[in-house]
Amino acid sequence: MLSSLLLVLLIGAAAWAGAQAGFYLLLGAVLPYSAVLVFIAGLVRRMIYWAGSPVPFTIPVTGGQEESLGFIRQAKTDCPSGASGVWARMFFEVAFFRSLFRNTSAEIQEDCLLTKGPRSIYSSSKWLWAFALLFHYSILLVFLRHFRFFMEPTPSCIRFLESLDGIMELGSPRFFLSAGLMLAALFFLLGRRFFNERLRYISLPGDYFPLLLLIGIAGTGICLRYFDKADTTAIKVFIMSLTHFAPVSPQGLSPLFFTHLALVCALLLYFPFSKLTHMVGIFFSPTRNAPNNSRRVRRVNPWNPPDQYFTYAEYEDLYREAMAEAGLPLEKQPDGT
């Protein structure tokens, strides 16, 4: 936790100092270009790595009733038996975190009056689901909103998102809900790693680092907009020059902007080598992306081992006398006929 925090601060401080010292080429061109490159190439490489191994068996985890007899109602999305059901299942998984929505928390009582003994109670626990969903949708919205810096003219759908996001009509410039919600969700996700004993025990630096990095990104972003009151026109000119592969000198942009940018680049650089690959990994998950049709459609395993088993002929050879005595039909009689 502490080391992750230090690392994030270090990245931020280095970027700030670098901007002050005028390393614009490094911070404004080399870093962003290489980060995007590493991000894309890294993710592609990771997907190729996964796809390089076969899925030898059809192993969906069935979350409901199978397709069976006509009078029994199938759970078509939780236990899909065909492609459309799998698409629906994946959609609910990716868009609404279906599996996490099931979450419960268990409480074990030693003595309960009702059961005159021990009892386990499982209560619905949707906090993780709610905040995880909140975080992911907020960051999606924030990400999309940033396209106003990447496209000229700004597409109307992005403008619409902005107006939606600023619907509270608070402050000047108008406060974007998504930024605040994203930060709140991140603090929740960080807080549970901190205060929940189980989470604290399982958490690795690789769990704290991305959270703190994202908090840093959101924090610097909010500061840029509301406190630093950054010159968005200048930023847009600079970013457009990057996207047109003709970087202009970003002189005049605040060091905070470069801090924000460097943290984003750090995230992109870190992404393909971390647990964050769950973003694309979920689509590969064989317990979710396969239909429950393994008795109807045979899957072929490319490394299926050779047939090797104790054959009936060997079995009968071993037990022929006893089998004959028990009156069992035989392929060959004991006398050899």
Partner: protein, 545 residues
């Protein structure tokens, strides 16, 4: 077996989390918390790699000299074979949603029994050799190197997971601990580490056709005895066809139903049902095991034991296969059999119920139908004459076995049958049934006596749910569709909810089934008197049968 502490103590005794981070703790092997090791000769007979004598409680496990290379290579090989493994090593975000979904964690409060940490044991090794950050940053990136303590730790926790997949249901990415446990067990087998309770049945099954090693003539004898018992109860002696060529259906069920109480009563239920239907079926002494302990060893071993089903279906020239009540058998049949040993033999055809004409479309390729699907279809089409009041002394609840529930989705078929044969049916709390069902605590080859306390701990969620309906609704009977359950749930019920009996679904079917020409039933299949039946004037139609 040591005497178990009372349930309250068992719960109160759960230790709190250790102070040290999990990287620095190692499990201590004490009698009662590990399964006995497989015998060297068993492993040799099965041509398993590096067979040797060893003792989990000893310091030195007698690993081969180049154990580290073997394990690293085996791990790399598994990564190339299973996309799931690569993915599950990479994408877990440690959100912790799986933690309290695991019955082993709830029962032991051992942090490494949280599915996330169980997987992290392997993930940390993965990072060391298969990720840049792990190679460079080591521990800071959550990576660690192999050492003999790590091997022991993997063994300890791979055999404290019943591959029930409950965590996977709740995981936002579907990370499947069963997959990881199966692969860790495979890795351990590469250096000769396995458990007796799994490998002995595997050996038996390999060479005699079933887990207990019942030889063909004894198998026949036992089934004949069960048929005799059926006659005692019903006055009708059901047919017992064995190894019959050209039968329409080959019926395969776990051998546990043939030799172990209370599974035998379920088997009697099958015999009576098939007799009443005049089903053209056969049992096989060669493919006399539906269960597949090989699936607790390795994919290859699972394939090997499973191969007998299709081989026998081919030899006997049957049309399709019908499978009895079993959990992991159905995991293998439903998700693996077609791939392992398919396509189904050319003589087989997509299954059609000879009584109702129903085509079992969902089994069109493997050609194997679950008995609960088969019977539910019969009942729906009014092909059975049932008297559920014979089960009126039971207030029944239903335990979904993990594998049919989460690897097949067989949820409503058994309930449909149960409701038809039993007037009093109560569900356990909703978070403990259907796809969210809790394991019996001893699946995947952990149903051995020497870890009874551990089993009771792992069975706590199921036990508590059972106790809840027992106290609240007067439930006195637990139905299930798994042979392992029939072995593991009776001690679990005795411990957590004393007074609840356990039976298979088709035992209740056998009890409720009104057969053509049967005598008046005064006993159930266990030959216990049916309450409320006046047997002052006993008819004895079985006397001349």
């Amino acid at each position: 077996m040591a005497k178990l502490p009372p349930p309250q103590t068992l719960i109160a005794d759960r230790p709190s989390f250790p102070d040290q981070p999990w990287f620095d703790t190692r499990p201590s092997f004490a009698p009662g918390n590990f399964c006995y090791p497989a015998k060297k000769e068993t492993m040799e007979t099965l041509h398993m790699p590096n067979p040797h004598e060893w003792d989990p409680a000893a310091d030195d496990w007698g690993l081969p000299d180049d154990w580290e290379r073997i394990l690293c290579d085996a791990f790399a090989e598994r990564l190339e074979k299973h996309r799931s493994l690569k993915l599950f090593m990479d994408i877990c975000v440690r959100c912790g949603a799986c933690a309290d979904k695991c019955h082993f964690f709830l029962g032991t409060n051992d942090p490494k029994n949280m599915p996330v940490l169980r997987a992290e044991l392997l993930r940390s090794l993965y990072r060391r050799s298969h990720s840049l950050s792990g190679r460079v940053l080591g521990k800071a990136a959550g990576a660690r190197s192999w050492d003999k303590g790590v091997v022991k730790e993997l063994f300890y926790y791979a055999y404290q997971c019943t591959e029930c997949r409950r965590c996977s249901l709740f995981c936002p990415y579907g990370v499947d601990t069963a997959e990881i446990t199966m692969i860790v067990r495979e890795l351990l087998h590469e250096v000769g580490l396995g458990t007796h309770w799994i490998m002995d049945p595997v050996k038996n099954c390999s060479f005699t056709g079933n887990h207990l090693g019942i030889q063909p003539h004894s198998f026949v004898e036992i089934v004949e005895m069960l048929a005799d018992d059926c006659e005692t109860v019903t006055g009708i002696r059901p047919k017992t066809p064995f190894n019959k060529k050209n039968a329409e259906i080959l019926f395969i069920t776990p051998s546990g139903d043939v030799f172990a109480d209370p599974g035998i009563y379920t088997f009697m239920g099958y015999l009576l049902l098939f007799h009443e239907l005049d089903l053209d079926y056969t049992l096989s002494t060669y493919a006399s095991e539906g269960g597949n302990f090989g699936s607790f060893v390795s994919f290859d071993m699972a394939k090997k034991l499973n191969a007998k089903m299709y081989a026998e279906a081919k030899r006997l020239n049957v049309k399709w296969l019908l499978g009895g009540e079993c959990g992991h058998m159905w995991r293998v049949v439903n998700q693996y059999m077609g791939t392992y040993n398919g396509p189904a033999p050319a003589n087989t055809t997509p299954p059609i119920s000879p009584l109702t004409g129903t085509v079992f479309k969902n089994a069109a390729s493997t050609r194997m139908v679950h008995i609960a699907e088969f019977t539910a279809d019969l009942i729906h089409n009014d092909k059975l004459n049932l008297d559920p009041s014979r089960n009126d002394h039971l207030i029944s609840t239903f335990h979904d076995s993990c594998n049919p529930a989460r690897s097949m989705g067989l949820l409503d078929e058994p309930r449909y049958v149960l409701r038809a044969v039993c007037n009093n049916f109560v569900e356990m709390p909703e978070n403990t049934i259907r796809e969210r069902t809790f394991c019996c605590g001893a699946g995947s080859g952990l149903n051995t006596e020497e870890i009874m306390e551990l089993r009771m701990r792992a069975g706590m969620p199921r036990g508590n749910a059972l106790r809840y309906v027992q106290q609240k609704f007067g439930v006195n009977h637990l139905a299930c569709i798994c042979a392992l359950d029939r072995a593991t749930l009776p001690p679990l019920a005795d411990y957590w909810a004393p007074g609840v009996t356990v039976s298979g679904l088709h035992e209740l079917v056998g009890n409720a089934l009104i057969m053509k020409g049967e005598g008046r039933r005064t006993m159930d299949l266990r030959q216990e008197d049916l309450p409320g039946v006046d047997d002052a004037e006993p008819e004895e139609p079985g006397e001349d049968g």
